[in-house]
Subunit: 145 residues, 2 copies
DNA sequence: CATATTTAAGACAACCAAGTCCGAAATAGC
DNA sequence: GCTATTTCGGACTTGGTTGTCTTAAATATG
């Protein structure tokens, strides 16, 4: 697994919010977890974290729920990964060395580096909104049939 | 983390054996775990698994230990990963979907696929012996300073 | 203001990977 | 054959991630 379960749910949830709750409309926890096929209370925890850090917004009380602020900038995929899984979650040494670098590389360093550089660039430039658009168009999906 | 701790230790251990215990000479558990900086009893478990599946060889008793059969074919990196972490450990869906494919992709499927294909090819063609050579030449390392 | 609805927060439980321990089996050397 | 050494195998412990539950806080509505 590239990312933790928490991170997978976070990515799916924010993508779904971008489609269904941009601006005025809101979605509550049960609607979200149903849409992305995730355990409801666990999803609640993750949504709270995302909200606490300002990646998504929330409103308590009747008619409340979670939503994406219309005026907010597009959300880069890397922001969610850094928040949930920690920085450099995906570009650590393949053999687990703490200090693996060009000067003192592990044997698979060079090969892995070329991938993680590409991957990092992808995650830093791609936005959740772009993914949401693919879903809206029916070109991609968040759950299995 | 790309691979499990078990898999990291397995890769390091087999690389080390390729350097120090090819043919007649053997290394025991404490020598190996010291060389690759891993917990001794946990490393023992992993070496047993590798031995049971014929990736490395072992001899019990005084002067015994683990070694790489000189006559055995070079060990492809993928063999160790498949054994320890299970098949397709590294090319599962980035969002955790069970059935994610071209026909019904998750939004990050296409981008991830292009990496996992490259990575898979690398792991299927690179051998432990090649990595061992890099270590022997002083161009790569298995532990931090 | 009372009530229903919804998120917030923290404690708790279940699960799995990581790591330990111990007795059994094999074997080399005396 | 006895002893020391070493791997083998299984049971056990620990720690972190995943997932649940319960109570509190906020707020919309009548």
């Amino acid at each position: 697994m590239m990312f933790s379960k928490s991170c997978e749910y976070a990515l799916k949830a924010v993508i779904h919010l971008c489609i269904k709750a941009k601006g005025e409309s809101r979605l509550n926890i049960s609607e979200i977890s149903r849409a992305i096929d995730s355990p409801e209370p666990f999803t609640a925890k993750i949504l709270q974290t995302l909200s606490r850090h300002g990646i998504i917004s929330s409103i308590k009380g009747p008619g409340g729920g979670f939503y994406i602020d219309k005026k907010a900038a597009p959300i880069r995929v890397i922001e969610i990964i850094d928040l949930i899984d920690g920085k450099h979650a995906f570009d650590r040494c393949g053999l687990g060395l703490k200090d693996c670098n060009e000067d003192r590389p592990c044997p698979i360093h060079k090969e892995f580096k070329s991938y993680s550089v590409q991957l990092k660039h992808l995650l830093e430039t791609k936005t959740i909104q772009e993914f949401a658009k693919e879903i809206s168009r029916g070109n991609a999906f968040l759950i299995n049939t």
